[in-house]
């Protein structure tokens, strides 16, 4: 064992650093979560502010995870400088109107660097996806033009996202109580195109495009309370002001963003078994028509040593955007594992998630493979 650790000390950490660099070196537009057709008509697809470890437990561990940019208070116990990044590939089947379309996307939705600056104070910076806005829709239709029915194909695309750049700080007030707060700068852009190709080529192809920039601002706070050895609860809240969309320096839309709050419970009866549950509420209905307030819940467990645990979880709730008068629903189950090496200075987390969203006659089924890399140099 010592021999293996000695071997992994240098090359393994180097490999992990290279892998981390590769993960975070992707273009900004890829720093987004998994897409959904439900988000096309709304603001987009809200991101999942979870590390691979948390997501493998259905998100239940996210409020207690210092590397999940959901809450700040757990940062107080981070102990040493740590960086993590997440990559995920999703295969999504979209079934609507009797047809099923297979889609695929790769995203890098989370990057966090955190570390202590004082004995009782830690800070973190990083970004995660606030809204994914990547989609590509094609449509066949016709219209009467110059007295003739002209058939055409439309393709409207959006490629990009709104990132949540977070600056967080957390401190341990007492042995049982930790608090944290964060500022969130929302920034991002999408490259949007609208194209119409007529079957009659006398009509030239319509092709318009624009770069849409987004900005917004938010604050959040959280409290972590140890009720008893192995039993903790956390509460968090967040408020964002609005999302401003600008095209060529002209504001094209201002959309109110939701307030959100949530809490969680962590129970660790032994060092090799940990259970968690969490819930969150988000007031997405402020975003306008076709948006709904949502409740989400999750429950998960982690077994085994921290060196190579087994994780599983489930979650459910509502998706904030959809047609009709009811919010679409979503449910997911996930499993995962991890492996620490180089004396715990590098970790690889792997996760697999099966997600289903339903609403308005559309069903999305998604397989997502997640890879997380964490280094503690």
């Amino acid at each position: 064992m010592r021999r293996a650790d000695r071997w992994t000390d240098g090359p393994a950490v180097g490999t992990a650093l290279v892998a981390l660099a590769l993960l975070i070196a992707g273009p900004a537009v890829r720093l987004s979560a998994q897409d959904s057709q439900f988000g096309i008509r709304g603001l987009g697809t809200p991101g999942r502010w979870e590390s691979v470890r948390s997501r493998s437990t259905g998100g239940a561990f996210a409020p207690f995870d210092p590397l999940s940019p959901l809450t700040e208070a757990p940062l107080a116990d981070i102990g040493q400088l740590t960086a993590t990044a997440v990559g995920g590939t999703s295969h999504r089947d979209v079934a609507v109107g009797g047809t099923t379309t297979a889609l695929r996307a790769t995203r890098f939705p989370v990057m966090v660097v955190a570390g202590p600056v004082r004995p009782r104070l830690a800070v973190a910076a990083g970004f995660t996806t606030y809204l994914d806005k990547s989609w590509d829709v094609t449509l066949r239709d016709s219209l009467l033009l110059r007295g003739v029915l002209q058939r055409y194909t439309d393709e409207v695309t959006s490629d990009g996202s709104v990132a949540d750049v977070r600056f967080a700080a957390a401190g341990r007030v007492s042995r049982r109580l930790a608090i944290g707060a964060a500022l969130h700068v929302l920034a991002g852009s999408t490259r949007e195109t609208a194209e119409r190709r007529f079957d009659d080529t006398t009509f030239h192809t319509v092709r318009q495009s624009a770069e849409v920039r987004y900005d917004g601002f938010g604050v959040s706070g959280s409290v972590l309370l140890g009720l008893a050895p192995g039993l903790s609860i956390v509460g968090w809240a967040r408020s964002d002001n609005r999302l401003r969309a600008t095209v060529a320096d002209t504001t094209s839309a201002m959309t109110d963003l939701p307030r959100m709050a949530g809490g969680g419970l962590l129970f660790a009866p032994s060092p090799s078994a940990r259970f968690a549950a969490s819930a969150a509420w988000r007031s997405w209905s402020t975003a306008g028509a076709g948006a709904f307030d949502t409740w989400t819940w999750s429950a998960g467990a982690e077994f085994g040593s921290r060196r190579m645990p087994i994780r599983l979880g489930a979650r459910g709730g509502q998706f904030p955007f959809g047609p009709g008068t009811k919010a679409p629903t979503e449910a997911a189950a996930s499993v995962g594992t991890g492996r620490a090496f180089a004396q715990g200075r590098a970790l690889i987390d792997l996760g697999l998630e099966r997600l289903e969203r339903r609403g308005g006659g559309l069903t999305e089924r998604v397989w997502t493979v997640l890879v997380g890399l964490t280094v503690r140099p």
Binding site: T8, A12, T15, A19, L22, L23, G26, I40, R41, G42, L43, G87, V94, T101, L103, R104, A105, T106, W135, D136, V137, T138, L139, L145, R146, D154, E155, V156, S158, E192, R196, T202, F203, H204, T205, V206, R207, Q208, A210, V212, A245, T246, S252, A253, A287, G288, P323, G324, R339, F341, A342, A346, I348, L350, G360, G361, L362, V369, V371, L373
Partner: protein
């Protein structure tokens, strides 16, 4: 080792999976973007003003072709006659580096012509060659050479008969024709001229001039090449070499002057918009291009509608192409034409249907460059290479004025959820 492999496999999986496939059929309106592409179609009936016509851009002798036609009409006959002059070698011929001899005359000559355009439905096509005064030049008119075209016939050849000969050669007359019918319908005609038809007159420096009339069973209209496409004359000379006549075959000579004369001449320009004819006519149409289209839309189709004031004139078989272009600056009839973009349409002689020219390219140019003059120039694509001419109603004819139909797309509301 296991950990490193695990890391590498994980990264390799992610990198290999970096292929996006996001395109999905839209199920509208529930799962489509809330905004749609908006198309507007508008007919601009009064945006074209201050239009006018000009003639004289390409004259007959400047044309790339020599036009020949014989089209009897109800009131007159369209008659086109190629004329050309081939300068000779002078009175003496260079026999060697140190010796010259007087040119005594010609045994014969061979004249090569290229028919670049013909109607393959025309039968019994006959070419009649006339000797013309060697003084023909750019000022020569149909009337000024009417006499020689009446009394100076030197040779006649029937093209269809020649084409029907074995090997397309006439062993008696020494004529031949090479046909490239499958590609361009061109004919290369080689005619043997005897000493009577090809007289080498030393006092004229050997210069000869010929004119061609054509005839056929049906409407005859063809075009001869000039410049690199003929006419070319190969002399077979007799030269005095120290008192002994010797035969010499010098290099073939190209025409020093090639043109055509025709009747009737085009009617004078009036208020209509004339395009085509010889000398070629062009028309300028000034467009008040609406600002709301120029500034905030994408033009996907623009059509210029022109109503003929009279049926298009010309040889019935010779449909001709007119093109719409724009100009770099408005100097009236001398406006420099922007040749980068152009749109065309075919004009059928005798037709009176409304002419439509798709001018999308030009309108898009105007929309992209607000400094560009918004003027259409209508001209024949091949100027003075057809007798065809069409005249359209001008903007002052309220009921039949030129109109512009534009289909455009409003700016897509990007960034609006």
């Amino acid at each position: 080792m296991t950990e490193r492999r695990l890391a590498l496999v994980g990264v390799a999986l992610l990198v290999a999976a970096c292929v996006e496939r996001l395109t999905a059929p839209g199920d509208c309106p529930d799962f489509c973007p809330s905004n749609q592409i908006t198309i507007v179609d508008t007919l601009l009936t009064s945006s074209i003003n201050r239009d006018s016509s000009y003639r004289g851009y390409v004259l007959a002798h400047e044309a790339a072709l020599m036009l020949a036609a014989h089209i009897p009409g109800a009131t007159d006959t369209l008659d086109g006659r190629p004329v050309f002059r081939i300068n000779g070698f002078g009175g003496r011929f260079v026999l060697s580096a140190t010796d010259t001899g007087a040119i005594l005359g010609a045994d014969s000559a061979r004249l090569k012509l290229v028919i670049l355009r013909r109607d393959t439905a025309t039968h019994n096509l006959r070419l009649q060659f006339y000797r013309l005064p060697i003084t023909i030049d750019t000022g020569t008119t149909f009337g000024s050479v009417a006499g020689p075209f009446t009394d100076s016939l030197v040779r006649t050849v029937n093209i269809d008969t020649l084409l029907a000969q074995p090997g397309r050669k006439d062993p008696v007359m020494g004529d031949s024709v090479v046909s490239d019918d499958t590609v361009s319908h061109q004919l290369v005609v080689s005619l043997k001229l005897d000493s009577a038809a090809a007289r080498y007159v030393a006092t004229d420096s050997g210069t000869v001039a010929y004119g061609i009339r054509i005839a056929a069973d049906t409407l005859a209209s063809i075009a001869f090449g000039k410049g690199t496409f003929g006419p070319v004359l190969q002399w077979y000379l007799r030269v005095d070499s120290l008192g002994t006549p010797v035969a010499r075959t010098p290099a073939a000579l190209a025409a020093a002057f090639a043109s055509f004369v025709f009747a009737p001449t085009p009617a004078p320009l009036d208020s209509t918009l004339a395009v085509g004819g010889v000398p070629s006519a062009r028309s300028l149409l000034r467009v008040a291009f609406p600002k709301f289209i120029r500034d905030s839309s994408q033009i996907i189709r623009g059509t210029l509608f022109l109503v003929p004031a009279v049926a298009a004139r010309g040889a019935p078989a010779d449909s001709f192409v007119i093109e719409a272009r724009t100009v770099f600056a408005d100097f009236g009839g001398k406006s420099p034409i922007d040749t980068r973009l152009g749109d065309t349409t075919v004009i059928h002689v005798g037709a009176t249907d409304t002419v439509k020219i798709e001018v999308t390219n030009l309108l898009q140019l105007w929309a992209a460059d607000s400094t560009h003059p918004t003027i259409f120039v209508l001209r024949p694509q091949a100027e003075a290479q057809f007798f065809g001419e069409i005249r359209f109603y001008p903007s002052v004819a309220a009921a039949f004025r030129p109109t512009l139909q534009i289909t455009f797309v409003r700016r897509f509301p990007f960034g609006v959820p």
